[in-house]
Symmetry: C2
Subunit: 408 residues, 2 copies
């Protein structure tokens, strides 16, 4: 019998009625002939409530203790969901992340999965049980509980799907699939039936908050097919699949925006070897993710260095950079929160020159100034004024005719 | 350095301020030169809230899943308490019951501790950390989370104290020690400085809801000294110590009442071998604790059989007994909830004949009728009308002059 892994987010199990609906959905998959493993997040606001409790006690609680605290959220969900399935008369067992064999490194609150040891999961499946596994959490070599950071349940689900050689990993969300643009912004946005791991990875990283980028990365590495679908309907969603073949004809698959951007600009950076390294290694050591990096040449022995970070990392970055600036003799540091990122993603870009130029042209037509450009093989991103980002998304979506079905 | 185990109940960690107060108390013990291990229960009403969540989903949830659910309560407490201690600048680590090495049998919701394997606790102590352990929970041989049942945190604390060869196990409660009677009932009740394990065991079993009987039993078996004291003051409480020597001069140590009593009476039970066995073994198999048992001889081939149980077990007992009665040809079964138990406890009773008679005399003087009597070497219990039990406690306390200090 084939294994099917399903993942339900916090909003899908927010209350008793929703838990019962998820239970029925899991049972229906079981009745279709699958061994079902369901990965579940903490109920609705549980995590926020626990964080608030911790904040009352300490402004900077130990990360290990935060993991000890937050991991209770999923543990509550799995127990309740298992009870709901048992109530329908189906054999079921809940397993914590550690019991599910999710072995991680020791980087508390941001742990990475090192390996999955699904002995217990396999045993329970072969005994005919539905298995409910707590998402977001694992165990390190010390025997301590770790958590995987934001969106970690997606990663748990994909890791289990890979370890169990599952047919697919179904990720249930509050949207019914991956769209060419955010349907709330662009009314002509179209749901994609298929998208490649690579494209999804770019979309995920670029702010389409549907799948956790790490989960997509893992799915790509292990060849796991992800099915993104709605927890509120039975219609098929979007299949995120291996290879980049099937939709090569589509040059641009989607357009996306990211409002979570802070631009950092270092003016007159001494132009000598090792300066950039000392800046970015310091940020990396503190776990700060730097996104776009642009260096512009000036006349004389100085350059301007510009990069972007997420808003969460703004306070820490400000502190670090202002210290570094003194040490390195940088005269001016500018921060800007009034920017946003608009990006296009598409595996077809690689073989279609001029896509970036078309995008710049569309923005220019709408009088939108581009502050920073960054490109990869399958995406083009521009930092533009935040107030114009929604207009930019619509214009690009129309300009590339993403709303139209491709009949090639 | 000697180990000191402390246990804090759910009301002691009910909110942020109380958690901080407990943190300071633990730090003060650490500063007195002890290796401190603190065992903590779930916050205030957490357990009740989790039970309510489960009940919304299922009227009879799986016991394994209940343990999965309920064990999150203590896990939240230990994380928050560890944060509060760290906030004061002391090295500290929280451990779940499984991490603390509390190994139990597989009887979910009522598991018994089989052994304590405190490798991790010892390591953390020797690294200079205060160790916070989740009470009430353990792990079985399957790797599943178990809970120890009502008052299980006391048992966890005593078991750890025994395994770590601790100087003492301090149990913090909302009363400041063990009294000769409930001070809310008897104004002249006196706090005892010392009491033996045996006496405490009888008091605990008889409804003085200060210590969990199983914890006292364990303390007696392992020679652990328990210090029952208040979490709201620094004054010494009552030491529960090994041996029965030190207070032999006190014939009666305390008087206690228990309202949690249901009397079951089987009328005209066939007087043939094996009948009592089949009744009580059936109840035992269902985990129903039978307290007092009295059989009265009648004329002819029948007897009356009478026993008492706790109110929690009433519905299950009623169902079982009514079935059994049919099978065994018992004509009439009577249940009564209008009774209560009043008991005296004292190690000195063994060598002082007539103590029981004095008690019966006091009750008679007050016109209180005795329905059932049960005695052990160090206690005498009587089932009497529930409405008269408070009067009985006062009368007995006065009659034996328990409020007066013994100067012998």
């Amino acid at each position: 019998m084939q294994v099917l892994v399903q993942k339900y987010g916090g909003s899908s199990v927010a209350d008793t009625q929703k838990i019962k609906a998820v239970a029925r959905r899991i049972i229906s998959a079981k009745n279709s002939g699958y061994h079902v493993v369901a990965v579940v997040s903490a109920q609705g606001d549980t995590t926020d409530e626990l964080v608030a409790k911790a904040r009352e006690i300490s402004s900077s609680p130990s990360k290990r203790e935060m993991d000890m605290l937050l991991s209770t959220g999923e543990q509550i969900s799995i127990a309740l969901l298992a009870m709901a399935i048992a109530e329908e008369g189906y054999p079921v067992i809940s397993l914590t992340g550690p019991q599910g064999g999710i072995c991680t490194d020791a980087l508390h609150t941001r742990a990475k999965i090192l390996r999955v040891d699904p002995v217990r999961v396999r045993k329970e499946l072969s005994d005919g049980r539905i298995v409910i596994v707590a998402g977001f959490q694992g165990i390190n070599d010390m025997g301590d509980i770790t958590t995987l950071g934001r969106g970690g349940s997606d990663t748990t689900a994909v890791a289990l799907a890979a370890a169990l050689d599952a047919k697919a990993c179904e990720i249930y969300t509050d949207v019914d699939g991956v769209y060419t643009a955010d349907p709330r912004l662009v009314s002509s946005a179209r749901k994609l039936d298929e998208i490649s791991h690579g494209e999804m990875l770019e979309l995920a990283s670029l702010g389409a908050a549907i799948l956790q980028p790490r989960a997509v990365e893992l799915a790509a590495a292990w060849g796991v097919t992800i099915h993104v679908r709605s927890s509120f309907s039975d219609s098929l969603g979007t299949m995120v699949i291996g290879g980049d073949l099937m939709e090569k004809q589509r040059v641009v698959s989607g357009v996306t925006r990211d409002l979570n951007v802070v631009k950092v600009m270092l003016v007159d950076v001494p132009d000598r070897p090792g300066v950039a390294h000392s800046i970015f290694s310091t940020l990396a050591q503190k776990g700060i993710n730097v996104d776009m990096i642009v260096q512009t040449t000036k006349q004389g022995p100085v350059t301007d260095l510009l990069f972007s970070i997420g808003q969460d990392d703004y306070p820490a970055t400000k502190r670090l950079i202002e210290e570094l600036a003194k040490d390195l003799g940088i005269t001016q540091v500018l921060f800007s929160e009034r920017l946003a990122k608009v990006s296009i993603v598409g595996a077809g870009m690689m073989s279609n020159p001029g896509v970036a130029a078309t995008m710049f042209g569309i923005l220019a037509e709408h009088g939108i100034n581009i502050e920073v450009i960054s490109t990869s093989e399958i995406k083009v991103s521009c930092l533009i004024e935040a107030s114009k980002v929604d207009e930019a998304v619509k214009a690009i979506h129309d300009g590339f005719r993403l709303g139209e079905e491709i009949t090639a």
